[in-house]
Amino acid sequence: MFKPMALAAAVLATFSLNAFAAKTELTVYTALEAEQLKSYKEAFEKANPDVEIKWVRDSTGIITAKLLAEKARPQADAVWGLAASSLAILDQQGMLQSYAPKDLGKIGANYRDAANPPAWVGMDVWAATICFNTVEAEKQGLTKPVSWQDLTKPEYKGKIVMPNPASSGTGFLDVSAWLQTFGEKQGWAYMDGLHQNIGQYVHSGSKPCKLAAAGEFPIGISFEYPAVQLKRQGAPLDIILPKEGLGWEIEATAVIKGTPHEEAAKKLADFSASAEAMDLYKENFAVLAQPGIAKPQTELPADYEQRLIKNDFAWASKNRDEILAEWRKRYDGKSEKVVAK
């Protein structure tokens, strides 16, 4: 029902002389953490009082699948906060409207689509982290892992949770990073070993850290945002950055091609790349797309940005389907049999 109304509102907004400006309702797809949505929306709407954001939020894999499924009839006007490797797939499908936001010049060269004008522009970086529950570790006599390889040690059998890469962007960046740093063959061999120790694969990237914080499973493969947040709330967590390097992703913004609200969507893209927005992001993330704004997070080491691996996003998004199919074949829905072998 609201679609025709939104259309009417858009028409009104275009023709009105701002005297009785009706708000444009902008449908924005996102994989941002739910806690972040409120402040981001408020800040954007404060800067753009004529636009109202309607969020559709889910995990990275699900939002990506939804966008692809709606290709013939896009429901989204813009995407704010989705993995760059997912946006690259949408771009290959011709679903993104290239646009250079006002502050594009200030965005670091690594953190935007290379094309000009770019199809997507980065916001911040999120990276793999191990959440390690110190209370449970002591109780269960677990040594603290320091590397990814450590996680395959038999002492962690059934103690590790990780996100399912098919639904979670964090899960995918882990898998993609292991394949890149260890090489494809060793990468899969590593995951075979890790699989023996996995207690559960879960739907979202933040859940492993929450489960670790609650001691339900002492080790969670997650990312730094929930780890830092939970530690600040007093959870007995050690944030471990494995020494082989951290897989990472860019959280980015894009305009959907053919949206009836292109102006409003571009305003969103402008805002997302602005210094004002970076001030929001810096509360949650240690590495930002605009260099020089980030403030160090006390929970993370100073050389955090240097620990990120050299990440080939083009490779990751090109091979995403095959990687996920292989992962599903090996570990999804067959966990019992693999363990039995």
Partner: protein
């Protein structure tokens, strides 16, 4: 409705009767046609859409004959199917005997406090199916309070089985309660005078009279379990089942064809049990004659003591689970800070859908209860009390039995396929509250309709004959006589629809949009995001809302019975 539109006629008397006639015709024929259209749109076409979608091979949708063959022959599918069957059979094998003992205790013994036990046993109906799962995690998860009692954590087969046992218990219980409520005392007198032991009497009288209900309960529990994903999603761990796979295929991977194929597989057990049940019913026929005397159990200390222990154990288990869910929703940071707070109820700070979801659920439940009860009760009245358009009546009756055999998950998928079709003018409804209400009414139609029909059949057809001879229009008779008399049954339908709408997740999960997110869906989303405390809090809120509304309606119904339904007590045989 439009009776005033009749042309003015010269004679007053003629005019009066013809207005009434036209009004009746609009009421009866118009009403039936409206119902037919609604049932077609809300039940039949969505179901057909599943088959259409399952066998059409659009790229990337995972449907079509080739995909179907691939799915059915794949190792993964066998694993999922095997898991689903194992879980569902185990649950049914555990629940049905327990529910039988419980129902027997309530109907055939003299244990004290029957009302309380009955109330407690209905608790699982008041909350979404995720709640037992969440409570089990807090009880038997790695940090669970009673973790020490088990050798391994709860995630997996036993977690799903235990959760489903709790969730399906009241469903089986209600069927068995009604089966055990009917008994002819004369048979038991004859048995005891011939020297038959109580065990022998049970084998030759009670069991034959109730075994069909046992079968029906078994089928219902099996179907509910195999199509539920609320429990597996919370405590399943890596033990996956078909229902979860359908949910993941559609919501997670947007593979509608694959979802439709699995939906069709899940439809099979429901259709099978529905068919066998109908066949058994016809074979059994009426076992109670009009001269039957109501069976009244004799006091027996030993028997009543045993049954009281069983009932107490079951109720204690249920209270433990539900108490745990409420408690965990109040704990600040499980398991390291057990001080109590309402932090988890601050929904707007976290993922899910927050208070919007809760208020949406209230709106949806109210809409479903009010619109649904009016439509269903009026429909039942038209089908029961009119002798014209027999063919139409039969079609309507058949159509309104279909939802009984269709699991919510499958119905929800059908709605996605049908209402999301390119070119369907009803697409505007997609994602709206209206569609959620329509779908929920359709999902719970059959049970509500059966309640209405039973109440209407108790009314003598003479009422309608009298109205006819007085030339009073039928619709007026319906509003002034039938509805007031049947008010208790009507309130029962309102309660059933309200509670079902508050707790349902199976169909709604596919149909909500950000504006129309529901509380039960928020529970699922919060659990997915790892916010188990919030999920417990929202479940608790649903539990208390459903229970509160149920109590309120029960109280209203009792007040009404006392005031306007005094005639019932004087009527013989009631």
């Amino acid at each position: 409705m439009n009776s005033n539109l009749a042309l003015p006629l010269p004679h007053k008397q003629v005019r009066q009767s013809s207005t009434a006639e036209i009004g009746d015709r609009i009421f009866v024929v118009g009403g039936k046609i409206v119902l037919l259209v609604l049932l077609g749109l809300a039940v039949l076409l969505p179901l057909l859409a599943i088959f259409w979608r399952g066998f059409s091979n659009d790229a990337g949708q995972g449907g079509g004959w080739v995909a179907a063959k691939e799915l059915v022959t794949s190792e993964n599918f066998h694993w999922l199917l095997g898991n689903s069957l194992k879980v569902s059979l185990s649950v049914a094998a555990i629940v049905v005997p327990l529910a039988y003992l419980f129902a027997y205790a309530l109907q055939r013994t003299l244990i004290p406090g029957k009302g309380i036990w009955r109330g407690i046993s209905l608790l699982p109906l008041m909350a979404p199916s995720m709640l037992p799962g969440i409570a089990l995690v807090y009880l038997f998860g790695n940090q669970g309070m009673l973790r020490g009692l088990l050798s391994d954590n709860i995630y997996g087969f036993w977690g799903i089985v235990l959760g489903e046992v709790i969730y399906t218990f009241p469903h089986a219980l209600m069927i068995l309660l009604s089966a055990l409520s009917l008994a002819d005392a004369r048979l038991f007198d004859a048995a005891s005078s011939m020297g038959a032991s109580p065990a022998k009497a049970f084998r030759s009288i009670t069991w034959p009279a109730t075994r069909q209900a046992v079968f029906a309960a078994f089928c219902l529990v099996f179907t509910l379990t195999i199509t539920d994903f609320g429990v597996p999603v919370v405590v399943g761990g890596d033990y996956q089942v078909l229902a979860l796979e359908a949910y993941k295929a559609v919501v997670g991977q947007q593979q509608f064809g694959r979802g439709a194929l699995i939906g069709m597989v899940l439809l099979l057990p429901a259709l099978f049990s529905f068919g066998v049940d109908a066949w058994l019913r016809r074979r059994q026929g009426d076992s109670m004659s009009g001269r039957a005397q109501v069976f009244k159990p004799l006091p027996s200390k030993w028997r009543d003591g045993c049954y009281l222990v069983i009932v107490l154990l079951i109720c204690a288990a249920l209270l433990l689970v539900f108490g745990m869910a409420v408690f965990s929703s109040l704990v600040k940071f499980w398991p390291y800070n057990l001080s109590l707070s309402f932090n988890h109820y601050q929904f707007n700070e976290t993922a899910g859908g927050g208070w919007l979801a809760y208020s949406n659920s209230l709106k949806m439940a109210l809409g479903t209860a009010l619109i649904g009860s009016v439509l269903i009760f009026t429909g039942a009245y038209l089908m029961e009390k009119t002798r014209t358009q027999r063919g139409l009546n039969l079609t309507l009756r058949l159509l309104s039995f279909v939802p009984m055999a269709v699991p919510g998950l499958v119905l929800g998928l059908g709605y996605v396929f049908f209402f999301n079709l390119t070119g369907n003018p009803l697409h505007v409804l997609y994602g709206t509250m209206t569609l959620l209400i329509v779908c929920t009414i359709a999902h719970y139609l059959t049970t509500a309709q059966m309640t209405a029909t039973t109440a209407l059949r108790q009314l003598d057809a003479e009422f309608e004959a009298a109205a006819l001879s007085l030339k009073a229009p039928l619709y007026r008779h319906y509003l002034r006589v039938t509805v007031p008399i049947c008010l208790p049954a009507l309130l029962d339908i309102v309660r059933y629809l309200f509670v079902s709408a508050m707790t349902t997740v199976s169909a709604a999960i596919f149909l909500y949009s950000p504006d129309t997110i529901l509380a039960a869906v928020a529970v699922l989303n919060m659990d997915d995001a790892g916010n188990v405390g919030g999920a417990a809090a929202m479940s608790t809120l649903i539990l208390f809302t459903s229970a509160g509304v149920s109590l309120l309606l029960a109280w209203a119904s009792r007040g009404l019975l006392r005031r306007s339904q005094a005639w019932r007590q004087t009527a013989p045989g009631h």
